[in-house]
Symmetry: C2
Subunit: 307 residues, 2 copies
């Protein structure tokens, strides 16, 4: 079934030990959409400036991503510059130019309103909530957030969390959101704020999904998917959004949503994140095949599988 | 088959958010021996002072651990004080009194010389090598080390690594030893120094085992075991040594050593580490049953198992 992705489209300037690239296509909605497009139909909602060309839009179209929700505004597209020269696990931001993204008001095309899956990338929680309420028939909503919103808009974020079924954040965000350093206890606190499931991304160590008691099945046991130890990390940018794209895209492709499906989705999230970091920007995500994805899924599975 | 454990016996003073304990029985050899004792016969080599009483020795005897290799020297036993008040993942050392441990010269009782498994806990690499050469008929040697030896005795450690079959260290130690920040590349470098297999412990994220090409089976794919998300971490002291005890103890109990056995051993390592942290010191390791261990092994297995 179709999934709507709402978030940023950006031009990134990135330096890593492998090299440097300037103004390449990026942004959470871009990584998410490309990763999810291998599993299901994707509809994107974003805003771009006059520097966003037909060639850029074609990257989406080549993956059958519906771009009617990309608003073309006057001015420049969101630009971000960062480096991972000392630490591949954490970006050091060089500059952030919000440009047209500063006044982003997601406009949902009428044709998107029958969508059953929704992913709210990292934007102001009030905008996230408004989109969720507008696409009223949605079956499952995934969402992201970040330290910035947790610190500055805690009340608004609290309201949005009641509308999100699966929240996908990293360790530090979970601990900050819960004001609790112990991860499983932090997870329980976050689940009590609204989501039925919480995916905590551990970077190179994989991800854990925590379920609210009774949600998507019986019990409250967490489940953990590993990350592949990768020798050649070229560019970590977008790994988390690609993870979310694999996770949500797989869910949207399934007739049923139960714990086994969510567990498999967690593995597919790891698979798409592991591909994303192999090349700069979205390069690797643009050229995958479903066969390559399935082959890596098997590698991930064998990575922790006892006979 | 019997396993010999060589390392420290200590009295620890520990403060964690759960409370504070003074001069409780600890030390790498103690945690290792207790954890391994649930799988096989253990023989310990260590040095203690006059403050080490029959009551302390009885903790070992209750687990049928052979203590003929514990030397009783004049003076006080090794004492360590540390706290985990801000961060349960890393101890802040308050004091270290080496006492009799400063002049530790492992003396291997004649009765231990037929042992087929050996674990060299974190001591001077030259002492590790001497023990390994003395117990000449050993089938598999596991070893630990730490930043202190990597920085100060790199040459000696290099010689010792040629005698160790499975090295068990944490992420930072592996990166420092290899002078390489990328973990899989660091692992390959460490394997080129001697060990057939390298276990890298990731703390709350589990552990990964890397194999030298062709060692213990075909191929060079790594394998990853998760750690259980634990809500109540009372005291992290000894988690790594308990992991090693579960890992090596399980290996010593098996008729064959192949990759599947080493993978299962990695899970048993995680199981024993997860028990260790539930209570202060060795309390939880003293009171386990094999049934509890098997039940948690199943929980670990299900934690990453896709149907």
């Amino acid at each position: 079934m179709s999934i709507v992705a709402v978030g940023s489209v950006a031009f990134d300037t990135i330096a890593t030990p492998s090299g440097r690239v300037e103004n390449i296509l990026g942004g959470a909605a871009t990584y998410f959409s490309l990763a999810a497009s291998y599993f299901t139909d994707v509809r994107v909602v974003a805003v771009v400036g006059e520097d966003f060309t037909a060639e850029h839009e074609n990257v989406f179209h080549q993956h059958r991503i519906d771009t009617r929700g990309i608003e073309h505004a006057k001015g420049k597209t969101f630009r971000w510059g960062g480096q991972y020269l000392d630490n591949l696990n954490e970006a050091k931001t060089d500059f952030t130019e919000l440009n047209v993204f500063e006044r982003f008001q997601p406009r949902i095309p009428r044709e998107y309103l029958d969508s059953k899956f929704l992913f709210l990338a990292n934007i102001h929680p009030t905008l996230q909530a408004a989109v969720r309420l507008e696409i009223y028939g949605v079956r499952l909503t995934g969402g992201d957030t970040m330290n910035y919103w947790i610190q500055r808009t805690r009340t608004e974020l609290g309201e949005t969390l009641k509308l999100i079924n699966v929240l996908l954040i990293n360790d530090n965000e979970a601990k900050m959101l819960a004001a609790e350093k112990n991860l499983p206890r932090a997870a329980q606190k976050v689940l009590s704020m609204g989501p039925q499931a919480l995916v905590i991304k551990h970077g190179e160590y994989g991800a854990t999904i925590f379920f609210r008691e009774g949600a998507f099945g019986i019990g409250s046991h967490p489940f953990r998917a590993p990350a592949l130890p990768i020798e050649e990390v070229t560019d970590p940018t977008g790994a988390g959004d690609s993870f979310a794209g694999g996770f949500m895209g797989y869910l949207a492709s399934q007739p049923q949503l139960n714990r086994e499906v969510l567990k498999r989705a967690l593995f597919y999230g790891g698979v798409m994140g592991s591909f994303a970091v192999e090349r700069f920007g979205t390069e690797r995500l643009q050229s995958l095949t479903r066969e390559e994805i399935e082959a890596r899924f098997q590698v991930f599975r064998e990575l922790t599988h006892l006979e």
